[in-house]
Symmetry: C2
Subunit: 311 residues, 2 copies
Amino acid sequence: MRLISYRKDGKPGVGVMTSDDAFVALPLAAPDLPTNLRLILALPDWQVRVRRAVEGRKPDLRLDQVALDPLIIDPNAIWALALNFQSHINETGLTTSPDYPQIFLRHAKSQVGAGQPLLCPPPSVARAFDYEGELAVIIGRGGRYIPKEEAGKHIAGYSIYNEGSVREYQGHNRQFGLGKNFERSGSFGPWLMTPDEFGNPYDKHVMTRLQGKTRQRESLGNLIFNVEALIHYLSMGHNLRPGDVIVTGTPGALKPDPNDYEASVAAHVKGGVQYAGRVHMKPGDVVEVEIEGLGVLRNPVVADEAGYRPD
Amino acid sequence: MRLISYRKDGKPGVGVMTSDDAFVALPLAAPDLPTNLRLILALPDWQVRVRRAVEGRKPDLRLDQVALDPLIIDPNAIWALALNFQSHINETGLTTSPDYPQIFLRHAKSQVGAGQPLLCPPPSVARAFDYEGELAVIIGRGGRYIPKEEAGKHIAGYSIYNEGSVREYQGHNRQFGLGKNFERSGSFGPWLMTPDEFGNPYDKHVMTRLQGKTRQRESLGNLIFNVEALIHYLSMGHNLRPGDVIVTGTPGALKPDPNDYEASVAAHVKGGVQYAGRVHMKPGDVVEVEIEGLGVLRNPVVADEAGYRPD
């Protein structure tokens, strides 16, 4: 089952995909269910109720008739991982504990839905706006002190996150803070796929394309702290809640081909080893993150020129 | 004007203090206003409407008849400062950029209201649960690219934060992540005081008492990045929104007196200099943070033994 959060005529709704481009609208098919995905996931019997509502029903709408919201628009917490692939540790030259995951938070307004514009800061404010393709895990059943072997029972599903990062601000100080939380700098979607359909995450790949060129491609089997380890760790301090999001970390960039001028400019040598550089995102670009089964999270990049815009 | 967020018979409300222990309940005095402080602050004319509703009205309730919630129960973002007093930099021995503030995020469920129990992790999970007394700033009018000299216009008011920290987890890796976000580990309140009543923050002091003993006392004039600088900095990347919270950082601990066994055990020498140690919070303690005009943020500390408790 694949679920989306959408907005039509300003009204939020949750949909169930019937193909790659059409869906059953739960506000029509099951008006008794909440119109907010986090609140649906908080119902103990949500899977049964949603499956019953869509059974045998024809799609109500096509994706191109609605705007997609970030998959969870109002999570209590978005936990994000730093340096959770060896290839990313290598390219940054940074160190991280081998014993404990490195975790920071994003807030809900730092993200948009699939298809919505990512805002690139004006060059006068900050340089180096980077993609980070990642697997996102959405918590279903809440819990505390969850052993790794029980972690799967708490997963509502998987999705894709582009954990867009403003490197200049990220480097201002030791805590990432604002550099990971620029206005509409990240993206989350397009859909949540339930674990029964997604299968084993670790035989899938995460791929990022900028302007059609593949810039990241790595097996999710290479996650240093895997999904089960992260759920266990977080639950030691925090009541994981329905709709909590764990963004599992990004791999290093691929080695650019020799004719790739943009990437060769960004490439660098560290400790005698040549690393691929990140080609930054800029206004006019289209960025795509893909994970098998989870679809493609595609966003245009536009200049953030408008100043304050109330929600 | 002093505003609180409270809960009575499970229902949320916003109140306006008429003395240090009684208040007008806005759900009774102004049923057309939202029952959520963030939503009230989002109304452009909230000050006028709230003042009109309470004018000449007798208090409806006493503080001891309700439970206080965290002042803003559902902020979009709680921005918190690391190492924003020289005395705290000295006691930790950590370094921080002199040019840019060091910022991380807390999420809403990591905090409780005044009077509510703070949860101390079991020793088997984590050691070293520490108080951090701080000034909190609550944003009223939203904005972006806010110059320092305009920052004051965006402040709805001030309050107190006990930015409770689980040091063992905070030290797991470079990003603070979970160590600053344990379940109900921090506290926020008791009230928001508007800037016209609070006056100049920098001639006030923040004081923390544990079991009645003063452990922190420092002038808010010693903030390295002051309130206006923080509002300016955050607004460069983020649309500051009504109800956003900025927790401005904690000072170092006071030098303990020679007969203070607990503190002398915690004290340490670094670079030939004797620093006061933090006396950790433990179940059974009462912790208080006070700032002149903002009242006392008092919380009992209890053992977190219950495992998962849904909200």
